[in-house]
């Protein structure tokens, strides 16, 4: 796909900023409009999550009962009891919808079919920290490193500092990233025996805030972290490089150069500062994607985060868990999107029209 970065409001950039109206009033109107859009999108996503399982053949309850039936015939009484226990929806579609909305608002998603009797909320809160720390930290590192390398590539255009990361970045996007993970796991984990091959901590450790456990956790997170870094770095470099190249051509950069400013000052304080806006948008979205962004990597390394939990839920047809996870992943992306829009409005007043 041709890399077209569509930043919010980028279409409006050529339009002259409106001068009428008080600045503060317009800013609040902008926030209110974005907030309204967020609420509407949230409602649509929540409703989609409600409709999806009902559009599909076979009900979740049937799947759960089929699994139980493997151990012997299920009597009607047992069936009713199990349905009540699992919180199988009753009543007509409207009542189900109201009950579902109530569940969403109170964050009560019932019990997991697979990890019965643990509740969905318990499972999610156990898994969430692992994903947040692993993917969150790596995303921040990749963004900072990739942006700096992108600035360098654009500034030294045509040299190896430019061609090498650009080529690598273009091809990294064509590689299945779970394959990169598999190869790393095979060579560094199984053949080289440098890193553990699965899990978030050793078999003897238990989660606690001690130096020993933290060291063990970092050791276990090294390979998944490396995979995410390798596979995501390229797009940050490319994104920053491409916007930077177009800002370098702008008049104010030429003017700054003509004024005899140091090249480093021109690169960082003039060109990069303006070029970073679209990249910042992607960064916000990437942070929103942290929650659900590493499903394949977590699967490869058996890392007990949100992605691995979703994988388990899906393979075991654990519908309550799956619904809750999908909702959580979507909502975090939507909220990140909203925050990015607001931030963009603050950084680039032209978008607040």
């Amino acid at each position: 796909m041709t890399s077209v970065t569509i930043a919010p409001g980028s279409a409006d950039i050529s339009a002259a900023p409106r001068i009428t109206g008080s600045g503060k009033g317009r800013a609040w109107a902008y926030v209110a409009r974005k907030a309204g859009l967020l609420l509407l999108t949230l409602w649509a996503a929540i409703t989609l999550n409600f409709i999806l399982p009902r559009l599909m053949p076979g009900s979740p309850a049937d799947a759960a009962l089929a699994k139980l039936a493997q151990n012997g015939p299920v009597s009607d009484a047992t069936k009713a009891a199990i349905e009540a226990q699992l919180g199988v929806p009753t009543g007509n579609i409207l009542e189900q919808y109201v009950a579902y909305l109530h569940q969403v608002v109170t964050l009560d998603f019932g019990v997991s079919y697979t990890f019965y009797p643990q509740s969905v909320s318990e499972l999610v809160s156990t898994a969430l920290p692992y994903t947040l720390v692993l993917v969150g930290v790596v995303t921040i590192i990749a963004f900072v490193l990739g942006t700096l390398l992108g600035v360098l590539a654009a500034w030294k255009r045509g040299t190896w500092l430019d061609t090498l990361p650009t080529l690598a970045g273009s091809f990294a996007s064509a590689f299945p990233y779970f394959w990169t993970a598999l190869l790393l796991l095979f060579f560094a984990g199984y053949v080289g025996r440098l890193f553990p091959t699965s899990g978030a901590y050793g078999p003897t450790a238990s989660p606690q805030f001690t130096l020993g456990f933290l060291g063990d956790a970092i050791y276990h997170a090294a390979l998944p972290a490396l995979t995410i870094l390798i596979t995501s770095l390229g797009s940050w470099i490319l994104g920053m490089r491409n916007t930077m190249i177009s800002t370098i051509g702008d008049d104010y950069v030429t003017f700054a150069e003509a004024n005899g400013l140091k090249p480093r000052t021109v690169a960082l304080r003039y060109a990069a500062r303006n070029a970073i806006l679209p990249n910042l948008t992607s960064f916000g979205l990437a942070l929103g994607g942290v929650v659900g962004g590493s499903i394949l990597v977590e699967r490869v390394f058996g890392y007990p985060g949100i992605g691995y939990l979703l994988f388990n839920a899906v393979t075991n047809q654990d519908y309550p868990l799956m619904q809750a996870l999908f909702l959580m992943i979507t909502v975090s992306v939507l909220i990140a999107n909203f925050l990015v829009d607001i931030l963009y409005g603050v950084l680039d007043p032209r978008t607040r029209r």
Partner: protein, 312 residues
């Protein structure tokens, strides 16, 4: 006013019109010209050669593969040998044969899903770019919803609800999650084209909106649409591999994705069968890379400035 003699200015316009209407190039000629433009780009040429080879391998799989895709009974988890160039799987199947047969699935899914997403993207993107008012707002909301909902989780969840479906299910899932981006890109291009003079001229000459959008505006976006197709096909191939690696879809079908699924589930990592891990992933990467390379040449179709060798 009575209609007597036609003013000279109108006559001049008619003359120009007649000259420009003169024989439209035949579709075959257009395709050939597009192909030669893409071929003239060095990177794209490499991509076309790789893709062509892969398609040949897929088509002639019955002749090329030494054994059947699911033919088992050989030594289990064997290393590479003269009889089995890439070794065998844990179920005693020939890895090389699976690799050759597997090409069919990846290429089929990539091309079909890429085509379907592109068709939806064109239909939605162009009409969205042309209409104004409430209709545009509604489409805007729907497309943004599909853009903002994370793709892979959505794919996984839909695939889970449609459990038991095979290749068809994977194509449906990939298309549902993959059309929105193209629609958005095509819409912005439509918006910028609709204010051009030739569109205004078409409106004043009384052409219907449908014809304006699909006969006047669409041909100007050929490279965007072709580029969108290759981009969507690449995404589809990677998504299909990912879904099959997770064991969603039909795991008894032999494809590069399911090969990786079985490789991890039968502990190919432990038994040290690097070929079984390495080869399918490399094939997926090669196929996706070839499409990405072709896209470098596609940019030149409707913008001669981007053609290789042409000076700006």
């Amino acid at each position: 006013m009575s209609t007597q003699s036609i003013p000279p200015s109108t006559r001049a316009v008619r003359a120009i019109e007649e000259a420009s209407i003169a024989p439209a190039p035949s579709p075959l000629k257009v395709v050939l010209r597009v192909a030669s433009t893409v071929w003239s780009n060095g990177k794209a040429r490499i991509g076309i050669i790789i893709l062509g080879l892969m398609i040949l391998i897929a088509v002639f799989a019955p002749l090329l593969a030494p054994y059947g895709a699911r033919q088992n009974g050989f030594d289990r988890s064997a290393d590479a040998s003269a009889a089995h160039w890439l070794g065998t799987t844990a179920a005693g199947e020939d890895v090389l044969s699976q690799l050759i047969w597997g090409a069919q699935i990846s290429i089929f899914v990539g091309l079909v899903a890429g085509l379907l997403s592109t068709v939806i993207a064109v239909l939605v993107g162009l009409s969205w770019g042309y209409v104004r008012g409430f209709g545009a707002d509604v489409i805007n909301f729907i497309v943004n919803l599909f853009l903002v909902i994370p793709g892979l989780p959505l794919m996984i969840v839909i695939a889970a609800y449609l459990s038991g479906g095979g290749i068809g299910m994977i194509i449906v899932v990939v298309v549902i999650t993959g059309w929105a981006w193209g629609a958005r890109v095509l819409r912005s291009q439509t918006q910028s084209l609709r204010s051009r003079d030739f569109v205004t001229a078409a409106v004043f000459s009384g052409e219907r909106p449908f014809r304006i959008v699909f006969r006047e505006i669409l041909p100007n976006m050929t490279s965007l649409i072709v580029g969108n197709f290759f981009g969507a096909a690449t995404a589809a191939i990677l998504a299909e591999a990912g879904l099959e690696y997770l064991g969603l879809g039909d795991t008894t079908v032999v494809s590069w994705g399911t090969m990786l699924f079985w490789a991890q589930n039968s502990n190919a990592l432990l038994t040290g069968q690097w070929a079984l891990l390495f080869a399918p992933g490399l094939c997926i990467a090669l196929l996706a890379t070839s499409l990405t390379l072709i896209n470098f040449g596609v940019d030149g179709i409707s913008n001669p400035r981007l053609r290789e060798g042409s000076k700006r």
